[in-house]
């Protein structure tokens, strides 16, 4: 499954990093604590969070995550959008909450455990 499949099926907003949408997604992780995601996120994971500041980009790039989905319709800060573009990190958005979004990702066949 690629990010663009997910974007299309769940009608996600693309805030930045459109160039990275053909990237395959292996799983997903939910977290709003940076150290938690640093410890438990895995390469090619999709990261689901409500955080919108630029440190999100740093963590996602350092962990080689496939992309980030910001939930609850929150808008990323300007810095976050700019850095995502620079790093070609797909930064996506949805009006759904993390629970509902995860359910739908599961229905698409995405799993957290690998």
């Amino acid at each position: 499954m690629t990010l663009s499949d997910i974007v299309r099926q769940l009608e996600l907003k693309v805030h930045a990093g459109r160039g990275g949408l053909d990237r395959p997604v292996a799983g997903a992780y939910i977290g709003d604590l940076m150290s938690d995601v640093m410890a438990h996120g895995r390469k090619d994971d999709l990261w689901i969070t409500i955080q919108i500041h630029p440190n999100v980009v740093a963590v996602a790039v350092l962990k080689d995550l496939a992309g980030v989905i910001i939930t609850n319709g929150r808008e990323p800060s300007e810095d976050t959008v700019r850095q995502s573009e620079e790093q070609r990190l797909p930064l996506l958005g949805t009006s759904l909450g993390a629970f509902e979004l995860s359910g739908r990702l599961h229905q698409l066949g995405l799993r957290g455990a690998r």
Binding site: D32, L33, M34, S35, D36, M38, A39, K43, T49, Q51, H53, P54, N55, V57, A58, V59, V61, L62, K63, D64, D79
Partner: protein, 147 residues
Amino acid sequence: MEEDLCYRQEYSLKGGEFARAGEVSRRIKDLLKELGLDVQVVRRAAIASFEAEMNVIMYAFQGTVRLAVTPADVTIIVDDHGPGIPDIELAMTEGYSTATREMRELGFGAGMGLPNIKRNADVFRIVSEPGRGTRLEMTFARDGRPS
């Protein structure tokens, strides 16, 4: 002669510079990748250097990150001028944090930073002088973890 081979790089950090947070660890990660290091070693070094970088940005006035890559290992030394850590054992406790409310709202202050560094480094040393600063020294063996 081989022990003398060493690639060195130095970076500086400023306390409070949240907008550039993660930049030094990203540069370290890219450099280690370019040097062709094992992906697991790069991954562990990236996690540990990010946590160390964030600690300087959140708590100290300024800091220096020194990276040394030899044929055997990667060493990262982070020195800061800052308040220091009065009780290192307490600071190493998972879940313990002195982060402010603002830092917590940004998703920091989970009390996982120092434990994350310890878990990912093969050798981890921390020395601190309250009122002056802290030094973190982490080493990563290039051929995986020593037994």
